[in-house]
Amino acid sequence: MKVDILIIGAGPAGMAAALAAAPSGARIALLDDNPAVGGQIWRDGPQAHLPPQVHEQRRRLAAQSTIQLLTASRVIAQAGPKQLLVEDAACARVIEYDKLILCTGARELLLPFPGWTLPGVTGAGGLQALIKGGLPVAGERLVIAGSGPLLLASAATAQANGARVLQIAEQASWAAVAGFAAQLPRWPHKLLQALGLWHPGYRASSHVIAALGDSHLQAVRLSINGQVKEVPCERLACGFGLIANTQLGQALGCRIEHNSIAVDNWQASSQVDIYAAGECTGFGGSEKALVEGAIAGHAAVGDLAAARHLWPQRQRWQGFARALQHSFALGEPVKQLATPDTLICRCEDIALADLREHGGWTPAKLASRCGMGACQGRICGAATQVLFGWQPPAPRPPFSPARIDTLLQLGQPE
């Protein structure tokens, strides 16, 4: 399969990129590993309520005969220059492109604490995603902990689906949260969003200490502004902010700066013909993703005037991104939640005590198999970077677990 523009990730950034590039007549493929387009924020499902704007975007995407949607598809490896090997449920294929736009978004930072492997414990944005996909939470008692505005968004989704949100523990201080809130009037739409999400159980300078239970979560031990408190509940949703999905960009040789894919004014990466937009260039919400995606789409088809026209808008939302990143910086306490027997690598069940002594990612991996499991170090690699400052290694193919017959396509002439 051959296209002019291949876009990886069909969240707000990828959708905007495709729609911006489409009028040029270019052949476009928009690929995502989820069953439907929308990315994190506009994830569809039986319990999702998408804003009308999203239905409109989807209609426009479907109406463009030059845009091919490849959902439930993941990138497995680079197959050659300007070629990616891609797998879906049924088959594998090599896609050849002229320009590549990476819109791979962000994932949650999930930090280890005692009991974090118990069923009943999920990410915060993770719980929101699971609920949208139909996870029943009606009548469940829920505690939310971690950091960032996603905690409030997750609480709102859970509550709208019948869960009882008992407490929201934000690790940042009241001063930091108030400082962030004080800046929100610069983005009135965000201020209104925040007011709508406000919850009486929200506490700053607070964090999880442990998830308690034998085979399933039964209670959560929290530190609420220095006071230890146990809260019986069925569910704990815990996320410590977002980290950019840079793996694919890094594997393709794009320069990474501040844990994000580095881009110039045209959203072009350090590699020729590879662009990046949205959360993978630094997290900052859907508005930033939309405008960056559109700039990348215009630039990739050479419509520089249209791209430049959007620069002021991008600058405005990048300001919001900076305020967000600054206000919810992680404090020391949440980096020290794991105890010696807390599992750090959830794939290979390796505890903190068996890891720390190795002093670096590579020796730890060689000695313990940490990071060699199915998630390929995405969870434990991000955690050990925050906990010990270990630099995760460059990703190697296959970028996600793949079928043998898919891998056999590597090296075979088309």
Binding site: T117, T122, L127, L130, R378
Partner: protein
């Protein structure tokens, strides 16, 4: 409404339901047994952690990124 078999038990779910949600709709929510024998459940909800991997119709799949289909067989136990 798709009807699937979850660990041998029939289960009807709404259209668009993920296999991750079905695990709790028709069972205790857990998806796999870890190398040290602990039961685990979907965790990140977005295709990263791989905790939700189950067998669907004999193929290993991420439950959080797979939609329930009529006649699908899902196994959460090895």
């Amino acid at each position: 409404m798709p009807e699937l078999l979850l660990d041998g038990q029939p289960l009807k779910v709404d259209e668009g339901t993920t296999v991750a949600a079905a695990l709790l709709l028709g069972g205790d929510g857990s998806s796999r047994t870890s190398v040290s024998g602990q039961r685990r459940a979907p965790f990140c909800g977005m295709g990263v952690c791989q905790e939700c991997r189950v067998s669907t119709d004999g193929q290993r799949r991420l439950a959080c990124q797979t939609l329930c289909r009529d006649g699908m067989r899902v196994e959460s136990r090895p």
